[in-house]
């Protein structure tokens, strides 16, 4: 198991990368930005897959399946609506 020091280290560095990259995002695109980051943070789906699919008691797997459904909904709707909105931004 990784020690918590290195996990915090990853967290701090990722936050700085995030702040740096997001600051450059075009103000026109704040709405699609929010739906895109929402879809990306639905990477929590990997946690749900393990909880749902491993050999755990039934109640645990039900909790996992609901979480998996919620994350999957965010992935599908998040990426699709982001693309739908971005298609609309035309220069001329």
């Amino acid at each position: 198991m990784t020690d918590f020091g290195s996990m915090l280290f990853v967290f701090v560095l990722a936050t700085f990368i995030g702040l740096g990259v997001i600051r450059r995002v075009s103000r026109l695109l704040y709405t699609p930005l929010m739906s895109l980051t929402n879809a990306i943070s639905a990477i929590a789906v990997v946690g749900s897959i393990v909880v749902t699919g491993a050999d755990h008691p039934l109640t645990i797997r039900i909790l996992g399946a609901v979480a998996l459904f919620a994350s999957m909904t965010n992935i599908v709707s998040g990426f699709m609506i982001t693309d739908r909105m971005l298609k609309m931004f035309k220069k001329q």
Binding site: M1, T2, F4, M7, V10, F11, A14, G18, L19, V21, I22, R24, V25, S26, L28, Y30, T31, L33, M34, S35, L36, T37, N38, I40, S41, A42, I43, A44, V45, V46, G47, I49, V50, V51, T52, G53, A54, D55, I60, G64, A65, A67, L68, F69, A70, S71, M72, T73, N74, V76, S77, F79, I81, T82, R84, M85, L86, M88, K90, K91
Partner: protein
């Protein structure tokens, strides 16, 4: 197998960072979606093929259900995007809360019991509190935005509200400390459930006092919470990929929250605990100046004779679904050689960037959408400022009237234009209940009516040859 998992996590992380990087410009932004989808697919497949995953049917079922709900949710009208976004924060919070709950009881049931290091138990408590409060808070916000009947639109306040809210959160945090110290006592399961329940209640209490004008800020803050819940989940599951993706989401929410707060001249705490938008006592206005009402014909003439027109859209444009009529007016005016620009206030609408998306949907080129800071120096040279369902963001009293809640909020200088035409649905004051002196200035002309209907009339003036 382990190597595949690690490498795919690194690859997915890199793709997610590129996805956000490409959002820097509308020209490259769609590439970002492809990068995001690829990263997600890699991470999901790499997890799925791990040997401990044996119940594939359940996973397929949940994924199919996710598609069945997700596809319709991605096709909502763009005026409904704020509530869709709030709903997706709710789903993100729910997933974090449920996985946290599942992990706690898994660890509790494991006789070896070596899982509960203080750090991981603490992360688990944070995950569950943030996850569940984001879940109910975002559901409430989505309900308010969708104008669900049994959720009050107006801010609900009562004496001692902040005391109650902080008390509930403080109790949850205190129980969290108890749980970190005693993760496996006979009563720890009940303590854990109590923490989750308090977080669910706190989410509701947090959103009750918040009004529509604060929604852009609140949605951004909930976005940050959802991201932080994913980070905490990453600590619990020991997943660097989750920590990174959650941190990207969280920092995005944080930056948007700061921008929204600045655009309203308010602090975080003031937004969450200040109950903005509650009906303010009417300003002691010396004398009530009268509006000057203009006819559609007169307004069309003013627009026709202008060289530069700046259109200032607000939530009223979204409510009236008037963006396509705006496009027709834009076409009619540009065809006559009038320069038309759109002045976008950061908090116009109900979420960050709301106006830009609506206008882009109506095929208005993004080069015509200008931010507040860039358009304001041009306002004194502007012939006509057309205010379209915006109110507080053009209220000149924000500059000096210390008694109003919008004091200090940066505004679009519509009043500095040579002529102002304001389209307004009714003669009532705006959402915040503040009188807007823009409407009674000498150079302001009012057009009363639904934005879409008024615009249709205006466009007709140009089309019928009544004006030439």
């Amino acid at each position: 197998m382990h190597v595949i998992g690690e490498l795919s996590a690194v690859l997915a992380t890199a793709l997610f960072i590129f996805a956000l990087y490409w959002m820097g410009d509308p020209k490259t932004a769609r590439r970002g979606v492809i990068a995001g989808v690829t990263g997600m697919a890699v991470a999901v497949l790499a997890t799925w093929i791990q040997p401990e995953i044996i119940h594939h049917g359940w996973i397929v079922l949940a994924i199919v259900a996710g598609f069945a709900v997700g596809i319709p949710l991605s096709r909502v009208p763009l005026t409904a995007v704020p509530q869709r976004t709030a709903l997706s924060h709710a789903f993100g919070g729910l997933a974090a809360g449920l996985v946290g709950t599942a992990e706690y009881f898994l660890w509790l049931g494991d006789p070896a019991g070596a899982h509960f290091t203080p750090f991981r138990t603490g992360a688990l408590v944070v995950e569950v509190i943030l996850g569940f409060l984001t879940f109910t808070g975002s559901l409430m916000a989505a309900g308010k935005l969708q104008e669900v009947r049994w959720i009050p639109q107006r801010p609900v306040t009562y004496p001692g509200q902040n005391f109650v809210n902080l008390g509930v959160l403080g109790l949850a945090a205190a129980l969290g400390v108890v749980l970190v110290l005693n993760p496996t006592a006979a009563w720890s399961g009940q303590v854990f459930i109590a923490i989750g329940a308090l977080a669910l209640i706190f989410g509701v209490l947090l959103i009750i006092p918040i009004g529509g004008a604060d929604m852009p800020t609140v949605i951004s803050i909930l976005n940050a919470y959802a991201g932080l819940a994913a980070v905490a989940m990453g600590f619990v599951l020991d997943s660097k990929l989750l920590v990174t993706a959650g941190a990207l989401d969280g920092s995005s929410g944080l930056i948007l929250s700061i921008i929204m707060c600045r655009a309203m001249n308010r602090s975080f705490t003031n937004v969450l605990f200040g109950a903005f938008g509650k009906a303010q006592p009417a300003l002691v206005a010396g004398e009530q100046k009268a509006w000057k009402q203009e006819t559609v014909e007169g307004a069309a003439q003013l627009l026709e004779q202008a060289r530069t027109v700046v259109i200032i859209p607000g939530y009223g444009m979204a409510v009236a679904q008037a963006q396509h009529k705006v496009r027709e007016l834009y076409d009619a005016l540009t065809k006559r050689g009038v320069t038309v620009k759109f002045a976008i206030h950061p908090v116009a609408g109900r979420m960050p960037g709301h106006m830009n998306v609506l206008l882009a949907e109506a095929n208005i080129p993004y080069s015509a959408l200008v931010e507040m800071d860039e358009i304001n120096p041009e306002m004194p040279q502007t012939d006509v400022a057309l205010v379209l369902g915006a109110n507080d963001v053009v209220n000149p009293s924000a500059r000096y009237a210390k008694s109003t809640p919008i004091y200090g909020m940066p505004i679009i200088d519509a009043d500095k234009a040579k002529t102002v035409i304001a389209v307004k649905r009714s003669k009532n004051p705006g959402f915040a209940g503040i009188d807007n002196e823009l409407y009674t200035l000498d150079n302001t002309w009012m057009l009363f009516g639904d934005a879409k209907a008024v615009l249709a009339e205006l466009v007709k003036q140009f089309g019928s040859g009544g004006i030439h």
